[in-house]
């Protein structure tokens, strides 16, 4: 009998990143995790960045020289977009797990589209993407516009 540990049906990150399955909901799943990991990396870097305050004004100025550059601002813009998408899509997921926006159960008819993957869910994903774009535009006006 095959041992459980011998079964190698695990796809790991390759399966996780496969964009060909399940449509927009899969893209949303992927983006939610990708933005989450990106934001965690930024959070750790931000804690390290602000810790330079404790070494006095010169250390703070040196850190700002490193981060307040066009590249630093582009990274910040990416963080603004990631955090907006992650927040809005996260709120959609909280509602979804609570059963809101899933539609009513029905008889499975051809072509067997899942009732739960409906226009409400797709609209939520699009709203998250659009708001992320709007937030990035506002962020760009502050960071590059000299407001």
């Amino acid at each position: 009998m095959e041992k459980l540990s011998d079964r190698n049906n695990r796809e790991g990150i390759k399966g996780w990143l496969n964009p060909s399955r399940y449509g927009w909901e899969r893209v949303s799943y992927w983006l939610q995790r990708l933005t989450g990991v990106g934001l965690l990396a930024y959070f750790v870097a931000h804690i390290f960045e602000t810790s330079s305050l404790t070494q006095g004004p010169d250390a703070w100025a040196a850190m700002l020289e490193l981060t307040q550059t066009p590249l630093g601002h582009l990274i910040l813009l990416l963080v603004i977009g990631m955090s907006t998408f992650h927040s809005v899509n996260g709120i959609r997921l909280i509602f979804t797990q609570g059963g809101k926006g899933l539609g009513n159960p029905g008889r499975p008819d051809y072509p067997y589209d899942a009732v739960s993957l409906n226009y409400r869910q797709k609209s939520g994903i699009w709203i998250a993407l659009i708001l992320a774009g709007v937030a990035m535009l506002y962020g760009a006006s502050v960071l590059f516009g000299g407001e």
Binding site: I47, S51, L53, P57, W60, I91, V142
Partner: protein, 109 residues
């Protein structure tokens, strides 16, 4: 997932306040040493910063734990991931709190 949702919604609120505090004056000015240190002398703002630190650390490292548990399942992996993410979370909270405490004690030059 309740802790993930509660910390996520909490973090959304406190981070929004944190960003708004950056925008009450010109962005470049808000990053000047004296202005940043003044933030750390404001006790309600210090409480806000500590809340951000704790809420995002819990939310972020629990999210990372969930991602890693989705990738592989075994007793050793699950225990290892849980212990490592909790240790990382506690480490980052301790390091961030250290910055808040020291910056709060710093005077103006």
């Amino acid at each position: 997932m309740k802790i993930h949702y509660v910390t996520g919604l909490g973090a959304l609120f406190v981070v929004a306040v944190h960003i708004m505090m950056r925008l009450i004056m010109p962005y470049e000015l808000s990053l000047e040493y004296e202005n940043v240190i003044a933030n750390y002398h404001n006790i309600p703002y210090v409480i806000l910063l500590e809340s951000i630190l704790v809420l995002i650390a819990i939310h972020g490292f629990n999210g990372l734990r969930v991602i890693l548990l989705e990738l592989r399942q075994s007793k050793a992996w699950e225990d290892g991931v849980t212990i490592l993410t909790i240790a990382a979370m506690m480490g980052i909270v301790a390091y961030g709190t250290r910055t808040i405490i020291i910056a709060n004690g710093l005077g103006f030059e």
